[in-house]
């Protein structure tokens, strides 16, 4: 079988997995999973970020602890906890897709919380005082004055986090979720004679996806000169 024939046979499988005969897979699953993960993590990340900034210690300390805890362990460990341990409590086997989604939401929420915190703390202090001096409560000051500015400054970071999430979906491979890397390995097992080419194509696909998004983030950063304060200095990049 020539490599051209391999491409001809498997390109659709590479893009969408067994869909529509079977479950969605391949590149499409990677994108769907990353988008859903980040989207579902947004409200949680916002809430955690606000809790971490809040003046109420009873709220701030547990959330700060949780964030440090999740950031100190590998994402893969979170995945394993959900995949192997959660069923022993619930009694129901967690599917690979929901396992990955849950793990991604936990992970993204924690990183988004840090982005929100950095975004708000990057604003000039006098913005908080200005809002409070008008009699706005802490929550009202956040909602009406600080978050609208911070969210705008955070947009590039959000795109970067999306890239990190896309890369993180590849860990689904390890629990047998048929995302892009897993599907490539499936093809490799069947074809056997072109591992170098196949894995180069895998890398190239991720590269095209992630690099173009990185350029979007970079463009946003230059385009949206911050209205005030600075772009949040990101807590060091998320792995995977």
């Amino acid at each position: 079988m020539s490599f051209a024939e391999v491409v001809d046979t498997y390109w659709l499988y590479f893009l969408v997995g067994q869909y529509p005969q079977g479950p969605l897979g391949g590149l499409a699953l990677t994108i769907v999973l990353a988008s859903l993960g980040l989207l579902l993590a947004l409200p949680a990340g916002l809430a955690l970020g606000l809790a971490r900034l809040s003046p109420w210690a009873a709220l701030r300390w547990p959330v700060t602890g949780l964030i440090h805890l999740v950031r100190a362990v590998p994402l893969l460990l979170v995945i394993f906890w959900v995949y192997f341990f959660l069923p022993s409590i619930t009694g129901v086997k967690t599917s690979q897709f929901s396992t990955m989604l849950m793990a991604l939401v936990v992970y993204d929420a924690v990183y988004l919380a840090e982005i929100v915190r950095a975004g708000v703390q990057g604003l000039p202090r006098v913005q908080v005082e200005g809002a409070r001096s008008l009699g706005l409560s802490w929550l009202a000051a956040m909602r009406l004055v600080l978050l609208p500015q911070a969210l705008r400054n955070m947009l590039p970071s959000l795109v970067s986090q999306f890239v990190a999430t896309i890369k993180a979906t590849s860990l689904g491979y390890i629990i047998g979720l048929s995302e892009l890397a897993f599907v490539t390995t499936q093809v490799n097992t069947q074809v056997f004679i072109y591992p170098t080419q196949l894995y180069l194509i895998l890398g190239l696909s991720y590269f095209v996806l992630c690099f173009s998004l990185t350029r979007v983030a970079f463009w946003l950063e230059r385009r949206l000169a911050p209205v005030s304060g600075q772009h949040p200095k990101l807590p060091a990049r998320q792995p995977a």
Partner: protein
């Protein structure tokens, strides 16, 4: 109307306010001056509790404002504060900056708040800039919008924390003009400033501070012509020296 009763405040081991006791009457215009680091800004920021105090009492309109359980947001909505750095909200237009708080506190419907904000912007000479974002305004214009924003809550007291210190020299006049107009209308005001010409013209009383204490209380005429405390004499002498003015 504003009463300090033996107020002390520390930053760590450094005492920023030392045994401050003072009364400011309704309708009075008080200018606080003194060298930098003397505690002027700290003093004015304690009046609406932007800074906590460590001991003593501050009573505003009969209310002990550093007591626990006070609805500080409701209290602050009756006191206007103007910052050195303007503190306009950069994502809102000049008009929206002025309507945000009145609408939030349900003092007015959106339409009423807008009406009133436009009148206030007119008063500070910026009605035509109502829809401009702060970034499109000069420093002097931004500070005038900030004053209109503070007035929009119809405060009983206005506090100014070095309102012209961040401005280019040619813009100082337009802001002081607005503040003078408010003084003529009988607004109770406490102004921290280095503009001694303004102080002489507008103040009913001058408080001179150094090292966290109020060292001298005097009418402008007495303060500028016959300063009593040696530190006040030194301060005025430095201001007059050609190297600092």
């Amino acid at each position: 109307m504003i009463g300090f009763d033996n107020v002390n405040k520390w930053y760590g081991r450094y005492q920023a306010l030392v045994e401050i006791t003072e009364t400011i009457a309704r309708g009075e215009v008080v200018v606080v001056c003194g060298p930098s680091g003397s505690g002027k800004s700290t003093l004015i920021r304690t009046i609406n509790r932007l800074e906590p105090i460590d001991s003593g009492r501050i009573v505003v309109d009969g209310e002990n404002i550093h007591r626990r359980g006070l609805d500080i947001d409701a209290f602050r909505s009756r006191i206007g504060f103007v910052f050195q750095q303007f503190a306009l909200f950069p994502h809102l237009t000049a008009l929206q900056n002025c309507t945000l708080a009145p609408v939030h506190h349900r003092r007015a419907t959106a339409a009423q708040a807008r009406e009133r904000a436009l009148a206030l912007l007119d008063r500070v000479g910026l009605r035509d800039k109502a829809d401009a974002l702060p970034s499109a305004l000069s420093g002097g214009q931004q500070q005038r919008v900030a004053i209109a924003r503070a007035l929009a809550l119809q405060p009983s007291i206005l506090l100014f924390d070095e309102p012209t210190s961040a401005l280019d020299p040619e813009m100082v006049g337009e802001v002081l003009q607005v503040i003078k107009g408010l003084a003529r209308d009988g607004m109770t005001m406490v102004v921290v400033t280095h503009e001694m010409g303004f102080a002489r013209e507008v103040a009913d009383r001058i408080l001179f501070m150094d090292a966290g204490r109020i060292l001298e209380r005097a009418t402008p005429a007495d303060f500028f012509n016959r300063p009593q405390h040696p530190r006040a004499q030194q301060f005025l002498a430095d201001l007059r020296s050609p190297f600092t003015s």
